[in-house]
């Protein structure tokens, strides 16, 4: 009997990933619908129901700081409540640095006399531009290979030929996106709510090996042709430390689903770029007359050093 599950497998995976993505859109507090930057020096907060003016009018109920500096509270100049009492606009004394996520704390929100609890939210720049900057940041400006020095074993192992390099890069990108999304889901919905943060290394390494195995099995059944081309690289993916670094970074920065996706995609594409650049040079090196002591790995390291120097030129660049 032939099981025709293959046709439904990809849509099913896409649907599951779509649910993950949607789950990332909501804010962390049930009573707050949306928070966003407005103009240069204001933050706009939308509530699910009307809030009391007496509560909202008191500026000491709101506390805002930039995420890296929790000690420096930003000074709120004015709080404006809209006519239907569902929207509150905080105006600040100085212009806000929108490149940093801001943490907004609202003490015991009161609505129609009832307390809704305290909300701690992060306010981020909206949004495509910010996502794009994470992508380009992970891919080029903070390229994982040339500026963070991760994944070097696999990088030097598979950059001898262009075809191998591209195959490895593509496989790696697919696996890292899948495993990063799974790690994000587990971190956000299991590890964090139950305060199991200290288990993140154990959980992530297990999850990564699991997702490599899953991609292996699915690819073998769904598309044997593709598996034949890329199957060999799957074993190597697990030996690459970028794949475990990405979940750790997104847990550290508390990224949401979109940001995690962009970081993983950027890391994968950045690795692909690095491999491609390196393999083009190493194919030429085969023909060059290299001193015998430098043949093989040593000269590859020197070449990678030159690339790293070139990539230093991107540092400090910011998009949007």
């Amino acid at each position: 009997m032939k099981i025709s599950g293959g046709n439904y497998l990809f849509p099913a995976i896409l649907a599951i990933m779509g649910i993950f993505l949607l789950a990332g859109c909501t804010t962390d507090h049930r009573f707050v619908k949306k928070t966003a930057f407005k103009e240069a020096d204001a933050i706009i907060i939308e509530f699910a129901g009307p809030v009391d003016e007496a509560w909202a009018g008191n500026a000491s109920n709101f506390e805002v700081y930039e995420k890296p500096d929790p000690d420096i509270k930003l000074k709120i100049q004015k709080v404006t409540v809209s006519a239907d009492r569902k929207t509150v606009i905080l105006t600040f004394a100085d212009a806000l640095n929108k490149n940093q996520p801001h943490i907004l704390t609202m003490h015991s929100i009161s609505s129609e006399g009832k307390s809704m609890g305290t909300a701690i939210l992060s306010v981020k720049k909206v949004y495509l531009g910010y996502l794009f900057s994470i992508l380009i940041g992970a891919m080029i400006i903070n390229n994982f290979v040339f500026t963070k020095y991760l994944g070097l074993c696999v990088f030097f192992g598979t950059s001898q030929k262009k075809s191998t390099a591209v195959g490895m890069g593509i496989t790696f990108t697919i696996v890292i996106v899948v495993s990063a999304m799974m790690s994000w889901f587990l971190y956000d919905f299991v590890l964090q709510p139950f305060r199991l943060n200290f288990l993140q290394i154990v959980v992530f390494i297990g999850l990564v090996s699991l997702s490599v195995q899953a991609v292996d099995t699915i690819l073998r059944k769904v598309n044997p042709l593709l598996f034949k081309a890329f199957g060999v690289y799957l074993v190597l993916v697990i030996a690459n430390c970028i794949i475990i670094a990405v979940p750790l970074i997104l847990a550290d920065n508390q990224y949401n689903a979109f940001e995690s996706l962009m970081l993983a995609l950027g890391a994968g594409l950045g690795f692909l770029t690095a491999l491609f650049l390196m393999s083009s040079v190493r194919e030429r090196l085969e023909l060059a007359n290299v001193p015998p002591t430098y043949r093989g790995l040593p000269i590859a390291f020197v070449v990678a050093g030159l690339f790293a120097l070139a990539f230093l030129g991107f540092s400090g660049m910011s998009i949007f």
Binding site: F146, T147, K148, Y149, L150, G151, L152, C153, F156, F198, L199, I201, V202, I205, G206, S209, A239, N240, C241, I243, I244, A245, L248, I249, P292, T293, Y294, L297, P298, I299, A300, F301, V302, A304, G305, A308, L309, F311, L312
Partner: protein
């Protein structure tokens, strides 16, 4: 491979010289390039790796008869992850400054090929005490590589060793740049190759 017949001293020196993880096996290159800017960093990460290697080797050697062969790799991975979590939390609690400097590399010890490799080819076939000495050797070998890289880079880049001013001037500021790690490792590997080349030539000359 049957159980080892080497003495404890041979096991340790094997890890430091013959199978040095960084210069001979070319494994776990990431920290060697990334954070070998000072001797202190090398010492710290070397200690962490030594700890993880020794403890996971001993753990696996102790329970080797109870591990089903088909799930041995996941078992190794989880054992290593557990010990990495321990050292990660300890470092974060007692040495926050050094921990911050090393950044994500402490957590990434879990992905070091060298540790899994030692478990697979040594610890799962040998007694606890032999695995202990093998772990010490491998850890010291890694530390030796990291510290020697750090020594060269710190001396040439900053003119200091362990923060103490030795030279009084900065010969080549280039070496403290993160990118110089690649050059440093490349040149050191070439040096090892050169020494080996000369050594072999001499040996051949003696034979003839």
């Amino acid at each position: 491979m049957p159980a080892t017949t080497k003495t404890n001293f041979q096991l340790v020196s094997n890890g430091i010289l013959d199978e040095n993880p960084i210069f001979r096996l070319a494994l776990s290159m990431c920290p060697a390039v990334g954070i070998s800017t000072t001797v202190m960093n090398g010492l710290m990460l070397g200690t962490a790796v030594l700890f993880v290697q020794v403890f996971s080797s001993c753990t696996i050697a102790a329970i080797k008869n109870h591990i089903h062969p088909r799930i041995r790799i996941p078992t190794y991975t989880l054992t290593i992850a557990t010990w990495v979590t321990v050292i990660d939390l300890v470092l974060a609690a007692y040495m926050p400054a050094a921990y911050k400097e090393m950044g994500i590399f402490v957590k990434l010890i879990v992905a070091f090929a060298i540790i899994t490799m030692r478990l697979e080819i040594f610890a799962c076939k040998n007694s606890v005490s032999a695995s202990f000495w093998d772990g010490i050797g491998m850890g010291l070998g890694f530390m030796f590589g990291m510290v020697s890289l750090g020594l060269v880079r710190e001396l040439l880049g900053m003119g200091t060793i362990l923060g103490y001013d030795v030279l009084g001037f900065r010969p080549l500021l280039f070496f403290v740049l993160p990118a110089a790690g690649f050059f440093c490792v490349g040149i050191m590997m070439a040096m090892f190759n050169y020494i080996e080349l000369v050594y072999n030539r001499k040996k051949r000359a003696k034979q003839v």
